[in-house]
C-alpha cells in the first residue's frame, strides 16, 4: 500500500495505518536526527516529536508530493530549531569530547566504518544549516525547493550553504590526511 493511501486511511480513522507509516520511516527519521544532532538520546526524543507532529498535522499533508519528503522536511525543521538548555548542551559536549576518537591512521581510514565515523565527526563541525542542507540534498536527495522551504531561505542561499559545507568537508578531510 502506498504512503498516500496509508495517510488517507489514517485520516479516515484507521488506527493501524499510521503505525505502518511509523514502521516504514522510523529509521530514516531517527537517522536524519542523529546525523544533525550527533546525540542518539536527543535524536530519539526528536524522532518521537516528529512523528507526533506528523500525526497531528496529517491533514495538512499535500498528497501530490512524496510523504517521505514532507516527513523528512518536518524532521529537519525540528532539528533546526531544537535547543537544549545550557547544562544539557555542556553535558553533551563533554560526552562527545570523551568519545572523540584519536585521528585515524591511513590504514584505518581505508576502512569504510572509520570513514563514516570521521565524516559524521566532521559534519558536526559545520553550522547546523549547512549540515541539514548537505544531508537533505546529498543523503536524502530532496529537491532544492523543498530544502529552501524547510530552512526558510532562498534557493540561492541553499546553494551557497551546499558549496560552503562541501568545501569545508573537503578541506578538513585533506587536513586529516595530512
Amino acid at each position: 500500500m502506498s504512503d498516500a493511501q496509508l495517510v488517507q486511511r489514517c485520516l479516515q480513522g484507521d488506527t493501524t495505518a499510521f503505525d505502518t507509516l511509523v514502521e516504514r520511516y522510523r529509521d530514516r527519521v531517527f537517522s536524519l536526527a542523529f546525523r544533525v544532532l550527533g546525540d542518539p538520546t536527543w535524536a530519539e526524543d526528536l524522532t518521537q516529536e516528529a512523528f507526533l507532529r506528523a500525526y497531528t498535522r496529517l491533514a495538512l499533508y499535500d498528497a501530490t508530493k512524496p510523504f517521505s519528503t514532507w516527513l523528512l522536511c518536518l524532521t529537519a525543521r525540528l532539528c533546526l530549531n531544537a535547543r537544549r538548555d545550557r547544562q544539557q548542551e555542556q553535558a553533551q559536549l563533554e560526552r562527545a569530547s570523551k568519545a572523540m576518537p584519536t585521528p585515524p591512521t591511513v590504514e584505518e581510514y581505508l576502512y569504510e566504518r572509520e570513514r563514516q565515523r570521521t565524516l559524521q565527526r566532521l559534519l558536526m563541525r559545520l553550522p547546523r544549516t549547512q549540515r541539514i542542507a548537505l544531508l537533505l540534498y546529498y543523503h536524502e536527495q530532496l529537491p532544492l525547493s523543498a530544502i529552501a522551504e524547510t530552512l526558510h531561505a532562498p534557493e540561492g542561499t541553499v546553494k551557497t550553504w551546499l558549496y560552503r559545507g562541501r568545501e569545508s568537508l573537503r578541506r578538513w578531510i585533506e587536513e586529516e590526511l595530512g
Binding site: 511509523v22 529509521d27 546525523r35 507526533l52 543523503h139 546553494k159 573537503r170 585533506e174
Partner: protein, 134 residues
C-alpha cells in the same frame, strides 16, 4: 578560459546548475587546469561519501508509536472528562448542600472547593456502596 572560475561557479558546474554554454566553458577549463580538477574531484568524493552514509537504525523498543502515545492521551482525557462529568452530576443532583445562611461570605474559590470536596466525598461513598454490593 585561462583564469580559474570562482569556486562557487565551479561548484554549480558539478551540480549541473549552469546553462549549457557555461557548462561547456568550465569543461574546457577543467581539461587543462589540474588544480580545478582536483577541487572538483574532492567535492565529488565528499558528495559520494554523503550519499553512501548508511541509515542509522532507531534503537529497538525505545520509540513508542506516536499513535500509541496519542491514544494514551485520548484515554486520559476521556477518563478525566468522565470523572468531571460524574462529579458535576453528583454536585447538581443534590449531594452538594451549600450553606445558604452564609451567602455573603461566598467567593468563587470557596464555592468551587467546597463543591469539589463534597463531590469527592460523594464519589467515595458511591465507591464504598458499590464495593459492599459486589
Amino acid at each position: 578560459m585561462r583564469t580559474c572560475p570562482h569556486e562557487e561557479v565551479l561548484h554549480a558546474y558539478t551540480e549541473g546548475w549552469l546553462d549549457a554554454r557555461s557548462q561547456q566553458a568550465i569543461e574546457a577549463h577543467l581539461a587543462e587546469c589540474h588544480q580545478c580538477q582536483r577541487r572538483v574531484a574532492g567535492w565529488q568524493a565528499v558528495s559520494e561519501a554523503l550519499r553512501a552514509l548508511p541509515v542509522v537504525p532507531a534503537p529497538a523498543g525505545t520509540l513508542r508509536s506516536a499513535q500509541a502515545s496519542h491514544r494514551e492521551w485520548r484515554v486520559v482525557l476521556t477518563l478525566s472528562a468522565c470523572l468531571a462529568g460524574v462529579a458535576l452530576w453528583l454536585w447538581l443532583a443534590g449531594f452538594y448542600q451549600p450553606d445558604f445562611n452564609r451567602v455573603a461570605e461566598w467567593t468563587p474559590y470557596s464555592v468551587l472547593s467546597e463543591g469539589a470536596r463534597q463531590a469527592v466525598d460523594a464519589l467515595l461513598l458511591l465507591w464504598h456502596m458499590l464495593r459492599e454490593a459486589l
